[in-house]
């Protein structure tokens, strides 16, 4: 709740931009990180997104607007970056993440992160927004400006690829 109030104040020009960066940095950085699978690149993208936010701030009216704007801009920047780099990476070319171990099954989490990073850009961003940000397909469609059917089909396609790859790799969760 503190964050929401602070962001509303910032949108009205009464809060320091620094507080807004602190409030949203993990969201923006994580979308970029889970998409790009590279902390340095993710930081670069996240910094660019916040610089863009700094310029766009006068036109953003509310906390919800700012959050949706950040998700949209970060997602599109990641997709653009992947397209420029033609970054549909082969699974074997993706390094193990240099990050703290998530709770739960750390082996499975790392394997999932690598497989997600190998998905095509559109399928990858849908998975990140769905399972990192916990957005419903309708919300993802709104954020990305895509049709709902596109989002749903990308989601199904991604889950199918993940089941296939993880099923073959581990033989554990082919459900």
């Amino acid at each position: 709740m503190e964050n929401i109030a602070a962001i509303e104040m910032a949108a009205e020009g009464r809060m320091d931009f620094a507080e807004m960066v602190h409030a949203h940095q993990s969201r923006v950085f994580s979308i970029a990180y889970h998409f790009l699978h590279d902390r340095a690149l993710a930081e670069e993208v996240a910094q660019d997104v916040f610089l863009q936010l700094h310029r766009a701030l006068p036109s953003l009216k509310s906390e919800a607007h700012i959050t949706a704007w950040l998700c949209k801009v970060t997602s599109h920047r990641c997709i653009d970056y992947a397209r420029r780099r033609r970054q549909d990476l082969e699974l074997d070319s993706i390094a193990e993440p240099a990050t703290r171990t998530p709770p739960g099954d750390p082996l499975m989490a790392r394997r999932l992160q690598r497989v997600v990073a190998s998905l095509p850009p559109k399928a990858r961003i849908v998975i990140v927004l769905r399972y990192q940000e916990d957005l419903e397909p309708e919300e993802i469609a709104r954020v990305l400006g895509w049709r709902l059917n596109t989002v749903k089909s990308q989601l199904q396609r991604s889950l199918s690829i993940l089941r296939d790859k993880l099923g073959r790799a581990l033989g554990e969760i082919a459900s």
Binding site: S30, G104, R110, Y131, L166
Partner: protein, 109 residues
């Protein structure tokens, strides 16, 4: 929700950015503010464009100055011609007047 989705939520947990991230963002916003103008001149293509624009402006100013000078010179020449024409006309009028006076005096006697 199936196990895959649970595992995905776990794997896609938010990560904190590297130490000092916010500070670096704020430093870049300050640089952007200060460097808004210097940044324009830092770009090589923009430097060339500005140099080209300045050359063009100087050329246009030079041409305009020359045109104004020529116009002044033409005006001055026209004025001199008019003065000469007026002088000649005045002389002719003077001669004509003198002849008329001579003629009228010869008729009087």
């Amino acid at each position: 929700m199936n196990r895959l989705e649970n595992e995905l939520r776990n794997a896609m947990r938010r990560e904190e950015p590297p130490e000092g991230f916010a500070g670096r963002v704020l430093a870049r916003t300050q640089e952007t503010k200060q460097g808004a103008w210097t940044g324009i001149f830092a770009s090589r293509s923009l430097r060339w464009a500005l140099a080209g624009a300045m050359c063009l402006a100087l050329a246009v100013a030079g041409i305009e100055h020359k045109r104004a000078q020529d116009e002044r010179a033409r005006g001055e020449a026209a004025k001199q011609q008019l003065m000469l024409a007026l002088r000649i006309t005045a002389d002719k009028l003077q001669i004509a007047q003198e002849k008329v006076q001579q003629h009228s005096s010869s008729w009087t006697y």
